[in-house]
Symmetry: C2
């Protein structure tokens, strides 16, 4: 959410998804989308929101994250069993995951070339291809 398109972008997406622009959703969208590309868990976002004085429950944060994901404002990334990360970068790209800290960052799609993808079985289509580069202290 850059300065020159204040809420229009979010409002459009919410509207397209049939979601009312409530106080909580707008506040969370602001936290999520104003600071550039982010990778965040529900707990982290909830803490941030509370710290910022936004009255919102963890349950609503979870609901909102999933609604935003469905509305294409976010993308879910699975790197650790038992923790869901949400990525504000919804364009095609890959991930670098620091196993010691749980820190997740983007890798530009151009930085990794994936070729010769398998042909999916009949009646199936490729939803997406994820590349996760896992790094750890050497």
């Amino acid at each position: 959410m850059s300065a020159d398109r204040p809420y229009t972008y979010v409002l459009e997406r919410l509207n397209a998804a049939g979601l009312r622009p409530t106080r909580q959703r707008l506040a969370l969208a602001k936290l999520l989308l104003e600071a550039g590309d982010r990778h965040i868990t529900a707990e982290q976002l909830h803490s941030e929101a509370v710290a910022a004085g936004i009255k919102v429950s963890l349950a609503t944060v979870y609901n909102t994250l999933h609604q935003f994901t469905k509305a294409a404002l976010l993308r879910e990334v699975v790197v650790e069993a038992g923790r869901a990360y949400f990525d504000t970068n919804t364009s095609e790209h890959h991930h670098l995951f620091r196993e010691d800290t749980g820190e997740l960052s983007d890798i530009a799609p151009s930085a990794i070339a994936v070729s010769e993808l398998p042909v999916p079985p009949d009646g199936m289509t490729i939803d997406r291809v994820e590349v996760i580069v896992r790094i750890k202290p050497s």
Copy 2:
């Protein structure tokens, strides 16, 4: 664990990891490694073991899976938040994941070419590169 190396392989690995070849560990190893490449969750393996008349608790299955992973008999694969899969194929390869059924299968490393990997930050090394091709009904 093929017919011509009955328990030697498992015994060696357990030994190398300082793990005693107990009834439970040997039985689980047999289930895991005798049937070729498998992708299995702790619950699934526990069910199989119980069905096969092996007396083992779910806690022990979890412990054993992690010990086997540390001993390089298994590899853990993360494809879904909140569920851990263990792969009996420990060599380098990629995965095809059916999002509707949770079914996981291997993709030969030769089937996907990953190039131009990013250089890890200082003091970090690439632990591994995972490619997950997610498919769903079209």
